[in-house]
């Protein structure tokens, strides 16, 4: 079944088409969300929300872009929204702690391990994921799509609705910022080999 046929069937409310949509795109949606939010439960929640939104708003899909591009945009938007909410909650928790209320303050970010990274590279990957949290969200999105989703710069440009030149620039800045963050980290924490 082609993407166009799938979209038409989804627009008709076909349940079998929805099942096929989830089967075909769950890894793509989940992996993208996971790269951004760095938490497996949150990524699972986001993946559910993405498919529910697609089911409810597929009639608004006009076919101006590829269906997968549209899906990527929804997944990225939801994941970034989730991150913002989390940050707001953290700030609110901090303000609450100033006024003596300690409920819901312990929003600790657990050490994230991406399940797809090879065992021998896990430690370095953890440090990279920590550094990723420190860079601007556009750079992080471009880096995640390219490195974790294996999208070419051209595809990243389509998903982010920008030019190839802009993506090259984003990736350049992302790498420079990550180098800076990692150097700062390793200057204080050189691991014992």
């Amino acid at each position: 079944m082609s993407q166009t046929e799938l979209v038409v069937q989804l627009q008709q409310g076909d349940e079998a088409a929805f099942k096929k949509l989830v089967d075909d795109y769950q890894v793509m949606v989940y992996n993208t969300a996971l790269g951004i939010v760095q938490n497996e439960d949150d990524a699972d929640d986001i993946a559910q929300e993405v498919f529910i939104q697609v089911f409810r708003s597929v009639s608004s899909f006009k076919g101006d872009s590829k269906f997968s591009t549209w899906l990527y945009r929804i997944a990225i938007g939801k994941a970034l929204d989730h991150e913002k909410k989390k940050k707001r909650k953290k700030r609110f928790g901090f303000v609450q702690s100033l006024f003596g209320s300690n409920e819901d303050v312990d929003i600790q970010v657990a050490e994230f391990e991406h399940p797809g990274v090879k065992m021998e590279k896990k430690e370095r990957a953890n440090e990279l994921f920590n550094a990723l949290k420190q860079i601007p969200e556009k750079q992080r999105t471009a880096f995640t799509l390219h490195k974790l989703e294996g999208q070419s710069y051209q595809q990243v440009a389509e998903i982010m609705n920008t030019t190839l030149y802009a993506v090259e620039s984003l990736m350049g800045r992302a790498k420079a910022n990550l180098r800076k963050e990692l150097k700062k980290y390793y200057s204080n924490n050189i691991p014992e080999q």
């Binding site: 099942k19 890894v27 559910q48 529910i52 991406h114 990957a125 990279l128």
Partner: protein, 111 residues
């Protein structure tokens, strides 16, 4: 290898650590979880109202409106009570037929 070289090596290793990473897969039965979530139905009217009221913009605007209404009520009451006090004094003066006579009225015995 000196310290700086060691740091640079670690940085490059970290940057390349995702190069051959596999895509992560969600836990099984994602479709079942999605269906369960959709069947749970949409939020009730009260849940939606609660969500709306707790939006920072709505909450702040509501708070400003309440403060503004309070200020208006207090100002209105103050001006009303001033008018009423003046009226009361005037009424009492009328009832007692109190009129302050100027001093020249006492001295002036001529009609």
């Amino acid at each position: 290898m000196n310290r700086q070289e060691k740091i640079n090596k670690l940085v490059e290793e970290a940057l390349g650590s995702l190069d051959d990473a596999q895509r992560a897969e969600p836990r099984p039965y994602l479709l079942t979880r999605i269906n369960a979530r959709m069947n749970k139905g949409t939020a009730s009217v009260w849940e939606k109202a609660g969500w709306l009221v707790t939006r920072p913009v709505v909450a702040f605007t509501g708070l400003c409106m309440i403060v503004l209404l309070n200020v208006l009520v207090v100002m209105n009451k103050t001006s009303h009570s001033n008018n009423r006090a003046e009226q009361t004094v005037q009424t009492q003066a009328d009832e007692l037929s109190y009129t302050a006579s100027p001093i020249y009225d006492i001295d002036n015995t001529q009609p």
